[in-house]
């Protein structure tokens, strides 16, 4: 009995690993994530704002409330990024295979490295001596 319980997930993983659709989704998701995240950080586009002092969540960007501690935007940036990248990834799966194949796979590691200097620059407030 117990030996058969792991079979469906193993089969699903195998089929995902051989799926051209999943490859397209994952490639575009990987390229879009650093770009969208950097835009979210620089433009301050959180999907929601979390106020840890009061455990309150506001939709979109909200300022810190007086006497209620700081506001946190990182959760909201992460949510915006993952949803945005997933939408782009799904849209890419509808493109013709020839077009998708023309996306250089090296972008999946070049783009994340390329946004690092931009993010370092965006944090310039902290680089003071």
């Amino acid at each position: 009995m117990s030996t058969t319980t792991g079979m469906p997930s193993a089969t699903a993983a195998k089929s995902l690993a051989s799926s051209a659709t999943f490859r397209t989704f994952a490639t575009v998701f990987a390229i879009a994530t650093p770009i969208i995240y950097t835009a979210c950080e620089m433009q301050n586009w959180p999907l929601f704002t979390y106020h840890p002092g009061s455990n309150r969540v506001d939709l979109g960007w909200a300022p810190a409330v007086k006497d209620e501690g700081p506001a946190m935007y990182w959760y909201g940036w992460t949510a915006t990024t993952l949803i945005g990248a997933a939408i782009l990834g799904m849209l890419a799966t509808m493109l013709p295979e020839k077009m998708v194949r023309s996306i250089p796979l090296s972008l999946v590691w070049i783009v994340p490295l390329a946004v690092v200097p931009i993010l370092v620059y965006a944090l310039r407030f902290f680089w003071r001596w």
Binding site: S18, A32, F126
Partner: protein, 172 residues
């Protein structure tokens, strides 16, 4: 402050709760760092097939990288979730004193850590796919450099987390 399941507080103090959570986060990070370091070394300095078993470095890089991929994805996600959970506590009880003490660069490098771990999260699906198709030569180069990129992100995040804990962690 933060998200704490109420029933837990019948058995442990708030301080113990956050300490357990932080130690779990740190241990998961150690496991992730070790796995990614082995895998990155295995793609940067692969051991030739049939080579005689060498010393520590040879054995360190002689791992079967593909068998690490799923575990690394799970560890990255779980470590991320634990870190995101602790972050609520950090924002009030760690970051504010760090800012009051004027440790701006410490805060800045931690902010960059937040950014890198989220970006790393987005790289996991294609990373997993590349390793599941490790026999496909088309993916050799992107798989190698993506693995090295993730390992670099993990090392940076680990070291920064360690430094911030030294600045204001346990006992502060």
């Amino acid at each position: 402050m933060g998200i704490i399941p109420d029933f837990l507080l019948d058995y442990i103090s708030v301080s113990t709760y956050w300490t357990i959570l932080f130690i779990a986060h740190a241990l998961l990070a150690v496991a992730l760092l070790g796995a990614l370091s082995h895998q990155a070394m295995s793609v940067l300095m692969p051991v030739r097939a049939g080579a005689a078993s060498g010393g520590f470095v040879t054995r360190f890089r002689a791992v079967h990288g593909a068998s690490y991929a799923a575990a690394i994805c799970v560890l990255w996600i779980v470590t991320f979730i634990f870190g995101a959970w602790i972050y609520t506590k950090y924002r009030i009880y760690v970051r504010i004193p760090i800012e009051q003490a004027g440790y701006w660069k410490t805060q800045g490098v931690f902010e960059l850590k937040e950014h890198l771990v989220t970006i790393g999260l987005g790289l996991l699906p294609i990373y997993w796919y590349f390793w599941k198709n490790a026999r496909n030569p088309e993916y050799d180069s992107p798989r190698k450099w993506l693995t090295v990129t993730l390992a670099a992100m993990c090392w940076y995040s680990f070291l920064v987390g360690h430094v911030v804990n030294n600045v204001r962690g346990f006992g502060s």
